[in-house]
Amino acid sequence: MREHSGIYPRGLWQAFALPGVVWLLLLFLVPFYAVIGVAFGGVDPIFLIPVPAWNPLDWNADSVVQTLRGFLPGGDYWAVFLRTTLYVAIALALCLLIGYPVAYYISRHAKRTKSVLLALLVLPFWVSYLMRMLAWVNLFAPSGYVNDFLAWSHILPDPPDWLNGNPVSVILALVYGYIPYLILPLLAALDRIDKSLLEAARDLGASPFRAFLHVTLPLSMTGVLGASVIIALPMFGDYYTPNIISGSPTTSMLGNQIDLFFHGGPQPAIGASLTLILSLFLAVLMTYYMHSVARATREVRDE
């Protein structure tokens, strides 16, 4: 099928796409190769700054192998890797548990108040993540409003110390911080579901709950997956949230290790290896997400 029916000159779209693609190649792919080069490279003996090995034949796999071994049970990074996975899994589950009903309600029901709700929903998205964390820290400080409320209402007369190495605070902070990035795409995905399909299901005799279960839920799955990937992957590399909320080794995540090896020291290759391994681990999820996205894009485009 001829695309443009001759409206636009040939090669126009390629030309349009070129600057952006070149930019991404230079500033996204090449830096990624730099990480590989440093991970497999050496270190300047005087300044201890990384000397990347560009040619795969020059690669020195010692750092990478050593780092990989650290991920085996009992290795250097095993505990922190487990902890990070646990935090991300719990935070993601909580985000979905809270976010899905919210998105569902707004997309399906909130007729009159829809724009108001939408605006309020989008608002945290606009407020800087760091500011929301600052607000969170102040609320949960020993003399903050949360503890005041808990003590006053006698729910927890002796409130725990939220900000001193408490994993619950870190997970809740992750949920609070990332949930807006989940709700918006989820909302968009739920919005796209054709209401007529649901009506058809009802006409065919399905109860409301079964209609939801068999029509809405499956149709929203790509959206759920996409939104989950969009927050889970960045959450894996988060290091500033534990630092702000806790600052204690008991809640440190994998990103903190990368941060440590990179911000100075004689072993940048280990930092690069950690980054590489993290990326490869997430690449599986990334690729799956992109496959389903590409499939969805093709379906939409061919309509």
Binding site: D44, G165, Q267
Partner: protein, 427 residues
């Protein structure tokens, strides 16, 4: 004969690269039948026995093994006129020097002055090495001097331009172990690493304990309000000193691992935070017991004490000489400077009595090693509370038997870093 030569060169290579010590080299060479003949070559590497080698063949300095840094170029001639016009760039940590004093210098010499900052010494060295910044003078720490000289990042100093060194600075720091004859540096601040705490929250009198460092391992009552320094050397050294192990420059994996185990034991006991913000958190009361640098306590009193708080609640203890770490920062002239004379004058300016004292008392709380600054005088003038008298150092605390964190070989650094990473990972 050729194999013989090859073996000898191999040994010399190893010696230069720091893989073996001079004594080992001697032994091996003696075994090969070569000894006294090679003495001149070996002694050219001016070092003591068992001294480890650093980058570029410069020996790693220790307080009891002072090092004279080699001159990679001659210092500038004496008697030159200072340059004017243009911009004079100072490379330093953020908030570590009073901008007012910097501007004064600029006015005095009719140049525009600007401060470029770095977040850590590692970042500073990297940016100087890659020429990412071009500065005139840079702040530096002694354990990076071997790197900086071997990498030709800093220029040698002509002492004729810096008379204040002999006039004002402590005699013990005029020819420090890390830079004998002060060929490259002048000292900027001196500080000890000790324990800072709030007497209104911590009931123990830490200074009177048999082993004050042990307070951390008995701090269950203060769980969540304890802190250790976010520094691989300082944190592990804390654990070493707790056990009475005073070689804080060790590269022995067993010693480092033991320190790591002790440090990890702190986590269930008092769940320490790991940061360097004690200069704010101690005065504000969000931290009660923190491994601190002496300057932090003073800076806390000068700048961060909330209104109405009694300064005497802030307490500090540092171990006597040889039992607790001391450190000093320095200034050096960057090799890329276009204003070398002015750079020398800056070094002289920063160790002027008034300038140094103002910077200390009005700004950063870190003590310069000036003869004119004594703890008694400061307490008498009411500049510091009596409870923090021992946060001010005296010249006799610096000597060949003092403990100072010094340069390690790359392998040693890697060991300390990896051990620290394990502690921070909370395993």
């Amino acid at each position: 004969m050729r194999d013989h030569d090859a073996g000898v060169s191999a040994i010399l290579e190893d010696l230069k690269a720091g893989r073996i010590s001079r004594r080992q080299a001697f032994k091996t060479l003696a075994a090969l039948g070569i000894g006294t003949a090679l003495l001149p070559a070996l002694s050219r590497l001016a070092s003591a026995d068992d001294q480890l080698m650093g980058p570029g063949g410069i020996p790693l300095a220790r307080p009891n093994k002072p090092v004279t840094l080699p001159l990679w170029e001659d210092p500038i001639k004496s008697g030159l006129e200072p340059e004017t016009d243009g911009t004079f760039t100072i490379f330093n940590y953020a908030d570590y020097i009073d901008k007012a004093l910097v501007d004064e210098f600029g006015k005095l010499h009719k140049v525009k002055v600007q401060i470029t900052t770095f977040d850590s010494i590692d970042q500073a060295i990297t940016r100087l090495a890659t020429h990412a910044v071009r500065v005139d003078v840079t702040e530096i720490v002694p354990d990076r001097l071997a790197q900086a000289v071997a990498g030709k990042l800093i220029k040698p100093v002509n002492p004729d331009y810096v008379p204040n060194l002999k006039k004002n600075v402590w005699p013990s720091l005029q020819s420090p172990f890390y830079d004998q004859e002060s060929r490259y540096t002048v000292p900027y601040t001196v500080y000890t690493t000790g324990i800072g705490w709030r007497s209104d929250k911590v009931s123990e009198d830490i200074a009177k304990l048999a082993n004050p460092w042990s307070i951390f391992w008995n701090a269950q009552a203060y769980k969540g309000y304890v802190g250790v320094l976010d520094d691989s050397r300082e944190a592990l050294a804390l654990a070493m000193l707790y056990r009475g192990f005073y070689d804080i420059n060790t590269e022995d994996p067993a010693a480092i691992d033991k320190a790591l185990e002790d440090l990890k034991a702190l986590i269930p006991i008092c769940n320490p935070k790991v940061n360097i913000t004690q200069y704010q958190t101690l005065p504000e009361g969000t931290s009660w017991l923190h491994q601190s640098w002496s300057g932090d306590l003073l800076a806390g009193v000068f700048s961060y004490l909330p209104e109405g708080t009694d300064p005497s609640v802030l307490q500090y203890w540092a171990a006597p000489r040889g039992k607790g770490p001391i450190q000093n920062d320095c200034w050096a002239i960057s090799a890329t400077t276009k204003k070398p004379v002015l750079a020398h004058l800056w070094l002289n300016y920063i160790i002027d009595n008034t300038v140094a004292t103002d910077n200390f008392l009005n700004f950063n709380g870190y003590q310069p090693p000036m003869n004119s600054i004594t703890p008694d005088a400061l307490v008498a003038q009411g500049r510091i509370p009596a409870s923090l008298r021992n946060a001010v150092m005296t010249p006799d605390e610096v000597g060949p038997d003092s403990l100072q964190e010094c340069t390690l070989t790359a392998k040693g650094q890697a060991q300390w870093q990896s051990a620290y990473a394990k502690f921070v990972s909370g395993a």
